[in-house]
Symmetry: C2
């Protein structure tokens, strides 16, 4: 099969064998926002045309913002609590080549908090589904760090609920578009000032006030340009983790993702004395594989 995680800013494609092993992968900077006039079929041909031609009967499953209102075709959100079979039921078909070849788009998830306020995800639900058996627990909390970080509570094989934190996007907006940006050396390596920021956040206090410490500490030589970005990052990630913990989590926290950002979350969680484990790489591909298998069996 071909599994495609198609988000706002990039497309990640995977070819999988019948056992769900990834045999090839490809990444392109053609997120849905870069596709003009709904030309998704053409974009898909450009990036993965050879894979599609190699086996015309190969099932194609897609997840992420491609199923949003701004995407190819809207796959409405499924209410939490939700299990795999609920996602399967709400998969929608899309004509992927303009000549009737069907592909399948996974739905997103909708959770409501105590106020009735909605929260949403698209793509992360498939990554959670793709956690290997080694990562499964009867009850668990999954954290997916990123532009919009998600904290997800699972039990009894269901996604019970989740909350989104705009941590990554607020970090970029504050660093690039406030007075703090002038104080930050954006190219500096991460330093122990990160832990100082996490500690400030964990001790409580309002984020709008804490942010100003980047400036005030800088004025008095408590924080240099190399440390300022690390401190800001620690404040924001620390604020997210502190809020998630106070909302209630079941340790160990399973982290899904890669690279430097996940390492920062590992550091911050360790500092807050919260057990964490790193989930499987390629969770999105394996999640779409599981979704596809159940969907194909039911047809």
């Amino acid at each position: 099969m071909i599994a495609i995680d198609w988000g706002t800013s990039q497309l990640r494609g995977f070819r999988l064998d019948d056992a769900g092993q990834v045999i090839d992968r490809r990444r392109a900077n053609c997120g849905i926002l870069s596709v003009d006039d709904g030309q998704f079929a053409a974009a898909l041909q450009t990036v993965l045309g050879d894979w599609l031609r190699a086996d015309a009967a190969c099932p194609v499953y897609l997840s992420g913002m491609i199923g949003s209102r701004q995407g190819w075709r809207e796959a409405p959100y499924v209410d939490c609590p939700a299990r795999l079979s609920d996602l399967v039921t709400h998969v929608i078909a899309v004509d992927i080549d303009g000549h009737g070849r069907q592909g399948w788009i996974a739905p997103g998830l909708l959770a409501r908090d105590g106020n009735g306020d909605p929260d949403v995800m698209r793509g992360e639900e498939v990554q959670i589904l793709g956690l290997g058996m080694a990562n499964q627990r009867p009850q668990m909390t999954v954290c997916l760090p990123g532009t919009h970080s998600k904290w997800v509570s699972l039990s009894a094989g269901q996604v019970q609920g989740f909350a989104t934190y705009m941590t990554g996007e607020v970090y970029a907006a504050v660093r690039d578009h406030t007075i703090l940006g002038r104080l930050i050396d954006a190219d500096a390596p991460m330093t122990a000032a990160f832990e100082a920021g996490v500690a400030r956040a964990a001790a409580g206090g309002d984020l709008l006030h804490q942010l100003f410490k980047v400036r005030a500490r800088g004025l008095f030589g408590d924080l240099n340009a190399a440390d300022s970005g690390a401190f800001l990052s620690g404040l924001l990630i620390g604020s997210e983790i502190t809020a998630a913990v106070s909302a209630g989590i079941t340790a160990p926290v399973m982290l899904i993702g890669n690279g430097a950002l996940v390492s920062l979350y590992q550091r911050a969680l360790a500092q807050c004395r919260i057990d964490c484990q790193k989930g499987d790489d390629g969770a999105a591909a394996y999640g779409l594989f599981k979704l596809a298998r159940e969907h194909q069996n039911g047809r």
Copy 2:
């Protein structure tokens, strides 16, 4: 005398008579960041040259970022607790015409919290000093809304301490540089969604999570483009007020400032059942007048 509140983005000049009444005022978009190569004397001549020539013996007092490291000459911060006489003692001289005519720059204030972290203000201390007798209380809290809002605690004639919140600047960065911006009609009038945002913030919960509600509620038609900016504003101002209240305030809160922003703070404080009063207009001018009178008397 001539009183000048010279900040990052603008200069406000006032002529005052011997009783401290404002007899003329002028405003120019020549904040210190727009003055090249330290040409502050030339900028001052351009904006207020006629006032300066009209009376060569007229005392000139300045406050705000003009006394910062990026300004004309640095007037080091005075530690809190601080009273008027401490500000007077730390006024510094500056040659305002390049030919020896002296002007005087007020110092800023420095407060440290329980962690020893510094917080700073420049210009607001003079506005507080300028509160008329009708606004004075033995103990009081002053709020100065803005790009960097200040909450200041005063008692026994001293500024005991204060905290800065980056509310205005974070609002602009989030509105203009995150996904939320696309959902907001920036030209829409303020609506009752402002109160809904204040209520969410007052009920607690992490700001990084609450911000995402602008998007998620928008997806489900709970919030339209006209209401989204009002809701975002309510979330941020509500978060600031909630934090300031939990840090401890003495009602009534005295609001210093003008225009639409102060009206929003009045709405939010009323909603949170906190008594507030609007302080005098022209507080900066009167504060510099009081500073000048004591400074001249002591020379």
